[in-house]
Symmetry: C2
Amino acid sequence: MRKELNQLREEMARRGLHACLIPTADFHGSEYVHDHFQFRRYVSGFTGSAGTLVVTPQEAGLWTDGRYFLQAEQQLAGSGITLYRSGMPGTERIPQFLERTMPDRGRLGVDGRTISYKMGRHLENLLEHKKISLAYQEDLADAVWAGRPPILPQKIWELPVSCAGQGREEKLAVLREKIQESGANSHLITTLDDIAWLFNLRGGDIPQNPVFFSYCLLTPEETSLFVYGEALSPELRRALEEDGIRIRPYAAITEALGDLDESCRLLLDTSQVSYSLKKAIPKEVRRVFGPNPSTLLKSIKNPTEIAGLREANRKDGVAMVRFLCWLEETVGKEPVTEMSAAEYLDSCRRSQENFLDLSFDTIAGYGPHGAIVHYEATPETDCPLQPEGFLLVDSGGHYLEGTTDITRTIPLGLLTPEMKTRYTQVLQCMLHLAAARFPHGCRGENLDILARLPLWEEGLDFRHGTGHGVGFLLNVHEGPNRFHWNQHGEKSGCVLEPGMVTTDEPGYYEDGKFGIRIENDLLCVEGPQTSYGSFLAFEPLTLCPISTAAVEPSLLTQRDKDLLNQYHQRVWEELSGLLPEKEKAWLHHATRPI
Amino acid sequence: MRKELNQLREEMARRGLHACLIPTADFHGSEYVHDHFQFRRYVSGFTGSAGTLVVTPQEAGLWTDGRYFLQAEQQLAGSGITLYRSGMPGTERIPQFLERTMPDRGRLGVDGRTISYKMGRHLENLLEHKKISLAYQEDLADAVWAGRPPILPQKIWELPVSCAGQGREEKLAVLREKIQESGANSHLITTLDDIAWLFNLRGGDIPQNPVFFSYCLLTPEETSLFVYGEALSPELRRALEEDGIRIRPYAAITEALGDLDESCRLLLDTSQVSYSLKKAIPKEVRRVFGPNPSTLLKSIKNPTEIAGLREANRKDGVAMVRFLCWLEETVGKEPVTEMSAAEYLDSCRRSQENFLDLSFDTIAGYGPHGAIVHYEATPETDCPLQPEGFLLVDSGGHYLEGTTDITRTIPLGLLTPEMKTRYTQVLQCMLHLAAARFPHGCRGENLDILARLPLWEEGLDFRHGTGHGVGFLLNVHEGPNRFHWNQHGEKSGCVLEPGMVTTDEPGYYEDGKFGIRIENDLLCVEGPQTSYGSFLAFEPLTLCPISTAAVEPSLLTQRDKDLLNQYHQRVWEELSGLLPEKEKAWLHHATRPI
């Protein structure tokens, strides 16, 4: 039995809590969660990136998804915590667990700042018939967690308009129009990337996500930005204040909400705003529930951002070509492992001008490791690369000009016929989606089949979305644009608009054998205007050859070959002038028509 | 100024109404509306199938869609009624019209039985700020309409279990389970086709829709069917009563709802149930809002229905082949017009065993008429068929074994290269959707692109849905399955299930020149079960050659040719044994591989 679990239970008893729920979340719904907020990891000992811990005096359960079943099983052994495999048939779900284990009129402890209002309401509704209440102001982490990592706010810096393409005054003006259109006059933003975008600011509070802890409140009278004071230089503070922005302490948001009055019609995105902040809003404030408009505005890249992304992807392509060329001449001759390969690739990126950071930890999965979708090599799992099979490399960078995300599956030598067949089908999937022509109004769910049909025709599939939005020098995963097929209602993606960047990354995974994924970032661009509407298409931003050695040409139609050859022609034209002779010769061969 | 409009205004004045709204609707939300309910047509003189009339003391407006702009303009000339072109930019919408023309605290007259509860609530919400009330119990039609056509209830007849495949006791038992699952114990059904399906009864109250005016109320104690007494023979009444069904008068539904008490948890589909019926439910009855489960149950055809549909489509194919063969040898030699061609086709269907009725009026549009999506030839528009261009024929029948719906576009002679190109692209659209392989969970919106991409790639499209569900000896249009791409939320189609029948009818229309549509009915069937799920596919139920004379073979891929040849091979195998020598020889030629 973990002592941290015991300490938590003692604290729960002191506070009269019958259960507590600990998600893996900060106060902003961020995908990547700062160490300060890893209380679930602290109590459970489970180090995976996703999971929810629920503790009662008698029981404790950890819910996590398929990526982490094995790891969680090992890490939870002897902890006194039961593993609940989310999504598996017969697994008890958290509300049912709470219903079963909690008494009538029980108190469920949860830090209301770490769950969305929507999630909190959902829990309340499910537990209503037992009259269970949400004790949402219980900060158990602060009470129990000795040695909790502090938040050390990193310096916020300004992204010049020459990079951002649009000043913050202009962005704020457009946002205020959208707020008006929704029927509101005020708006609370709690999502870190939306705030960073809106103010043309960047930070470093979450590794590889250039955002900073903050809130933003827009009222008819003022625009307030709530940040840690020490994160702002005096110059930047002055610059913001000169732009009419009121700078307030990060923690003052609750008080600021409490000061709103009946003249305020506050636009709230209840899937983003935390339960606690929603509760801090006075009753007399009229609420308008709707999507945060800045999420959509941010997703539509402006001409400067688009030009930057093309440039960032050229640099990224140069780095990838250097890496691929090196890999080809090294594997089988000198020792290379997953980790050393990733390090080499990272160094190729780092040497590019205006490189700021990786956009996520490089995934380099060899052989069976390629089938683990979120694999990251560790000293324990690291393995040498042999001149056979596939190395799957998913990686990307933040440059001053934008963010990249690319996956290539690299044949290191001999492949089985099955490997080649599947590689060819995944390539068809990627090419077919990238070649789509469609009228304005289409969503990702309308197009996704193009990236799956070659697999579906064989009764095969991949168990992840086909693509996600990519931030501009922001989070590598952003919404609302996406490619997917089996989620509806609110999770359904938005209408695709020119200027959106979405990844196209179909894959195929044979557990214990190999994994294939091929990913290009696609920019949605305008096509012809006809009497049937505004047609749209995609421009591939990613510039890097796709191995033809793994292709089984007999499976390709002439159109497939044309699409691949056109892409390679483009890669050659964009990159060849940027490469030294050796890499240029390699690229020439790698991009020759098939 | 029409005298009917004046009479209506006088009656409105007597009743103190500031406006009245007259939709084209019966009490059941039926697509085809009995003459008794054509009050909008009576008052306005506009005979199109769709339109809403709004009348105030000073103004009158008729809203209809693009199909009817020309016709409405002609028929409304001099009537004192303004045409409002729905869906055109800048057209004032009905709520805005009411807002502009009605006084504060005004009374809007509407027969609450002819609008859904959802629609009524929507109107109320939009007009709330002017405190306008819905005077929903005003039956202006009865007061104003001299010579209103009566409802003459047709005899209801029983569809034997040998055709229906499932007894009504079994259907009721399954439905009651679904009601329980929704959290209710009672259910009100007002949709005529769902009631006909549930009780294995058919009627003739609406031409070509074998349904009968009725309501159904299920409570924990009993199952009540509300019908016109004269529609039931004593034998059928007894048979139903022996099955435990309480037969009550059609008009008694309001009273029956009023008798419900607090023990009742009533499942209501507010998009189906009328505003008036919803208002008749006592306040103490707990309402469960959700979809009517019988709509989904009905859409999944059972093995007997499927076998019947295959048989019905063989008969329909024989009729179509006779027609096509006759057309080919007659046009250019003897006089044939759109109407005489349609009559010949109808006679071919009528001569089939167990033929009951057409499933809708045959559309036979020659040349430019083919571009009018809902064209029906009249003596005024009827035109002779020449040995050139396209004849578009959309038709279907009700057989005891099921309902059919088929469109073929028939080249009568010389075609322009553009005609051939578009015909070939429409054919590709139809074939690609029909050949889809996909996992369970897909909806029509995921697949629809397959039936559009060959057109989208050229910046072209068709402005109608790709396909609708087909009833089993019921309405030729039914839900919830459909193929479409640009409607979301509640209008989004359901997950496709094995046993559903959906049409696949892409088209292309050049206004004033020609129209192309090719339609097969597709049965959703089970494919392989793999570790990625239950895969599904389609079986074409429609059996009729598709003209290859209009195909431009150079635009087809080998796969396209294979798909067409496979389909024709199937048509040949299924129909050749059923045809006399001449038609058999014709079919042999028509189905030869390309």
